[in-house]
């Protein structure tokens, strides 16, 4: 029983009035008589009238859809950001087109093209780890589709809108905490150089070391590529340092997990315990027997919310405030 949705045309016919009158009546236009308004609205309700989105889209040049590009949904951190985006979108009558780049630049470019074809009103993106050029996003913006970066900022960060957590400060908090616990050999597993946020976390680490008068040891910083193999290779190298670290600050909690897993497998020797702190505070930690010492909660839900809230402002032309850089404060969660 495939019956098509009622249109204002049908309503107009049944009521023997014109479509424009119906349209105005439905929108409570002041120029329409009270009785007509009531008749129209009553029938509209009866017929369960819902305006045709395609027509609105075509008319207003506005799809009421926002696109989201993120690395992986299986990453619990990103999955949590989606909750914030989705809830806020639903409240504001936007639909969300969520996609995954799987950390591939090629795929990310495809997705951008698809978003443009789909005529989304705006895009929220956490760039892939392979992304170094931002041409594809700039093209979006040139086509009038605003972009809000989140979690991972683009290279020329000041020139773009983004929402993130204050990882610089957070890294400092983590290092302070470790030092307060008596650690002095504190390593850092840094994220890929392509990501600006890797530098921010590193800078925070460096600043805190300096502030606490702990000499920087280049051997204690390793760049990781976000793969398990990469992390485990880095850990191996850390263990071979003359005076190995007793604590490690990691780019993200998945790195912590890979590192701890590596150590567990290595621990035939009289390996000293190494403490870990990472970014993310993943929900899955609740299931772990042996948790990392602490974790930096980046408030992903709120990052998502702020990102879409900013994006909707941009879409609705509230651009007078200029470029927005939003940095949410992280919380250090001790497990």
């Amino acid at each position: 029983m495939k019956r098509s949705a009622p249109t204002i045309k049908e309503i107009a016919q049944k009521l023997n009035i014109s479509v424009s009158t119906v349209s105005k009546a439905i929108h409570n236009h002041p120029s329409i008589g009270l009785t007509t308004k009531e008749r129209v609205q009553k029938l509209a309700k009866e017929l369960n009238y819902v305006p045709n989105q395609a027509a609105l889209h075509l008319k207003h040049q506005k799809s009421s859809v926002i696109g989201v590009i993120l690395p992986k949904l299986i990453d619990q951190f990103f999955s949590l950001t989606v909750n914030g985006i989705e809830d806020y979108a639903l409240k504001n009558n936007y639909n969300v087109f969520t996609t995954q780049s799987h950390e591939s630049l090629t795929r990310e470019k495809e997705l951008v093209a698809i978003m443009q074809r789909a005529q989304v009103d705006g895009v929220i993106v956490a760039v892939s780890k392979e992304t170094t050029s931002y041409d594809h996003f700039n093209a979006l913006e040139n086509a009038g589709i605003p972009v809000v970066y989140f979690v991972r900022q683009p290279k020329e960060a000041m020139l773009h809108n983004w929402v993130s957590s204050n990882v610089y400060e957070a890294a400092g908090k983590a290092v302070d905490f470790l030092i307060a616990q008596g650690h002095t050999r504190i390593a850092h597993l840094k994220g890929p150089d392509s990501l600006l946020t890797s530098k921010h976390r590193y800078d925070g680490y460096m600043e805190a070391l300096g502030r606490n008068n702990i000499a920087y040891d280049a051997d204690l910083v390793k760049i990781c590529d976000l793969t398990k193999a990469g992390t485990q290779k880095a850990m191996k190298e850390l263990l071979q340092v003359d005076e190995p670290p007793t604590a490690v600050l990691c780019f993200k909690d998945y790195m912590v997990l890979d590192a701890m897993q590596f150590l567990r497998k290595q621990s035939q020797t009289n390996q000293k315990k190494i403490e870990f702190i990472g970014f993310g505070n993943l929900p899955m930690f609740e299931y772990f027997d042996e948790k990392p010492l602490a974790s930096l909660d980046e408030r992903p839900y709120e990052i998502g919310e702020k990102a879409i809230s900013l994006l909707l402002k941009l879409i609705n032309g509230a651009t007078e405030e200029g470029i927005q850089n939003i940095n949410l404060e992280c919380k250090l969660i001790v497990h």
Copy 2:
């Protein structure tokens, strides 16, 4: 520099021909002369012409969007199904509108309404644990929007299209395996009664017990509500049984995790080891030191793929095959 996308009208003007000719030329309509075709296609490429989706949508009454409703994205199992859906959709020029019910029936109904308003071409859904009436989905179908259930079938399963894994057979495999390992006191943490798949898993458990001549003990089966508290209460009860179980088959791996966590906290006494098998084979297991004995891999990626592939068939009217019930085989993964 907000420039709007080129239209066939613009192309027509620049070439001094009519829009209908342009339209046909772009689609390689046989009635168009070779030279015109080439001129049009060349210019279209130059201008980077892309057909306006809103117009197509309005014209063809087809949005090329499919809606997905699932309980939670943070659940790694569902997140994996999304990958299968997304990849297949992109390959077939569909966009995916993914949403979460968070296991709430109220939210699920809202989402269905939103999907209908958004005029998605079809819906893939794993119903919430609260869903007992299917009226909202039937309404979708009555409005001409096909629905494919996945993972969790609706009550009158035979009457609807669905894709799932063969949990009945899988539960049997798990029980067989446990028995082969010497277990005879095998408990089952059953899923909520609202979900048909709970019954299927339970039935498979029962069948395997019978087949192996193990007497059924009602004390060894507890219904859980998919909350941590519910699972842990059930485990507590299992421990108080006269002859407690030595192994437990769980509705899903998250239940296994909650149960194991409970046991770890309890284990002050000389608690005998209890083995667990659950459905899901979650990726996060790789990070666990102490994994469950085994897990049933439901091949979520393929479930997603099959679900959307079936849905696209339904959308394109390939309905002559009748109602489809697809049950993928599970693999027992021993950890």
